[in-house]
Symmetry: C2
Subunit: 359 residues, 2 copies
């Protein structure tokens, strides 16, 4: 426990021979264990409630570190323990998340907050889609660099940039106010670009917008091959906003399913502004949906040409989510290109549904 | 380095101030560093080949542990190092995978093999889809438990079971022969069920089978909402076998896109054997594809009933990949149900393409 003010150990509190956390903690701290009679009683009562006799091996779950406070387990047999040593804290928690998580929330968090004397550290994550890390950095650096608290970390991933704001304060309200102030400043420098501040992902945000506005969607996918629709239907309740999707991988499918004019495919090719537009129009016209989105591009690794290299993608939006068309040259391998193309499509839908310009 | 016979450190060999691996290793081993003139020369030559002068900060990349062997870096500036201390080995490798991986293959692996005096340990992973862990265990336990070498570990995940076979031997050939023997025994107990022994995933195996046999595919997806097609188009070259997919999330889409009789939807419902069959027939008839697969089910979290609970899924296959229909009750949350449904669909396609019964 050298150095740390708080140690939280999870797991190893069960009845079997390899459940050694209690013994290890006693050993490390030079404390003894005693068998707690009231825990024994409640263990036996728990087994009795299932109509079973308790095997003797379970008794070790009633072993408690001298001086420890017992933390009740609402969802399992092994209780947790909390012991203070020289003003520092050791928590022993059960391993199964469904037992550990409520115990943390109900018994550990309040004790940590009390120990911190009201001081808190809060993290808020602002997410931005379809914009490069250096673009974001350039726009917001003059602001966030003037703040020592909150501290800002920029994390760039494919098709998404995350700003992690960490604020300390003498109270929750103070830390929140600091996050709110810098958050508002950042949103001002990136108007309409921050899509999430509560952990939501872009597909969830777009799904919620479609639901809130009662807009139904049809999609037409070529290079993303179902990935865009898969992300949208990953959102529970998607059947209320997703009507249908046409995955038109072959040119013939684009013509037969979406009515894309063979002359467009001949003249401009399947990866073109005109084809993306025609796919979106076809999806809108051939479905009962109010809005449509279409993606076509070259995911690679093969299929690229000097004029149309791997990573070239066109996205079109039509109907009740506005009208937009975007060309992008996306970096990376097949998987990254496909993922970024879905980010771009979702971002265009989001901006259209919010009435923001396509950016 | 206490205890370990081989230590491999990656990263921290570059030119910047936080590239401290060389210094840390020298410190830990009580060795000195010397600046190697021939590395300096090749660093300068590398910069010159880009038409640039080398900044002095780069010189530290020529610092070598006394007694170390220099491992050339084909793809970057910082060379690796290999030093032996009391018969034990320390390797310093660059961090970027594209530099580190070839250096490992070309310079580290041969030295480790030599140090092992020919002894080898090989791992082979056998994968089985759409079958429960306990089912697999029950069938193969009587065999694999009689082997101490290879050792077998069973890992169960959603829709897939992996058997990790680890064989030791005095030579590569001996270890391989042991893997081959147990592998053949296991395949005999699970006829036609092992879909991969080379690391391939099920979507890749099915994609390769479709390509090899020249069979084109159309898919009809309801509850999986594009995930099945997304997995198929994740395979490079998918445009050669995937014709199109109908994601028919609404009942109206099932009727309009696939010609599912509204009377079927009325009588049996969208989640039924009849609907799955009609979707597959519709996908086959309304595309240019030789084979079709259809999935319908209840992914949850809502939409379940006592008769048709969340997790109920029907998969149908039609055409050149055989004719099959499967009902399954899949456990877990929305994401797991969707994933397992795609595993089941891919497995039925695989078995159909191989002419195995649907199992």
């Amino acid at each position: 426990v050298a150095g740390a003010e708080v140690v939280i150990a999870t797991g190893g509190l069960g009845p079997t021979a390899d459940d050694l956390t209690r013994e290890a903690a006693a050993d490390a701290l030079g404390l003894s264990l005693h068998r707690d009679a009231s825990i024994l009683d409640s263990l036996r009562a728990r087994f009795a409630s299932f109509g079973r006799e308790m095997a003797p091996v379970n008794e070790q779950q009633a072993d408690v570190l001298d001086g420890a406070e017992v933390l009740p387990n609402r969802r399992g047999t092994a209780p947790g323990q909390h012991v203070r040593v020289d003003g520092r804290h050791l928590f022993l928690l059960p391993g199964p998340p469904r037992e550990m998580e409520p115990m943390y929330e109900e018994h550990v968090r309040p004790r940590l907050e009390a120990a911190a004397g009201g001081r808190v550290l809060l993290v808020r994550v602002l997410k931005i889609a379809a914009m490069g890390e250096s673009d974001v950095e350039e726009r917001i650096a003059p602001l966030y660099r003037t703040y020592a608290n909150p501290r800002t970390t920029i994390l760039g991933g494919p098709g998404q940039v995350e700003l992690h704001l960490t604020a300390g304060g003498a109270s929750r309200a103070e830390a929140l106010a600091r996050l709110d102030e810098l958050g508002a400043g950042i949103r001002g420098l990136l108007p309409g670009r921050v899509f999430s501040e509560d952990g939501s992902e872009l597909n969830e945000v777009v799904g919620r917008l479609l639901l809130d506005r009662g807009v139904t969607l049809a999609a037409a996918e070529s290079c993303t091959g179902g990935l865009l629709t898969s992300r949208l239907t990953d959102v529970p309740g998607a059947s209320a906003f997703l009507d249908r999707t046409f995955v038109t991988y072959s040119n013939r499918a684009k013509t037969e399913m979406l009515g894309v004019d063979p002359a467009v495919l001949e003249r401009a090719g399947a990866v073109s502004e005109e084809c993306a537009r025609a796919m979106a129009e076809g999806a809108l016209g051939r479905s009962g949906a109010a809005a449509a989105v279409a993606v076509t591009g070259i995911a690679g690794p093969s299929g690229g040409t000097p004029e149309k290299p791997v990573g070239l993608v066109f996205v079109a939006v039509e109907g009740a989510a506005g009208r937009a068309l975007r060309r992008a040259q996306l970096p990376g391998d097949r998987r990254r290109v496909r993922w970024q193309a879905t980010q771009l499509a979702l971002e265009l839908l989001r901006r259209g549904l919010l009435g923001l310009d396509a950016g």
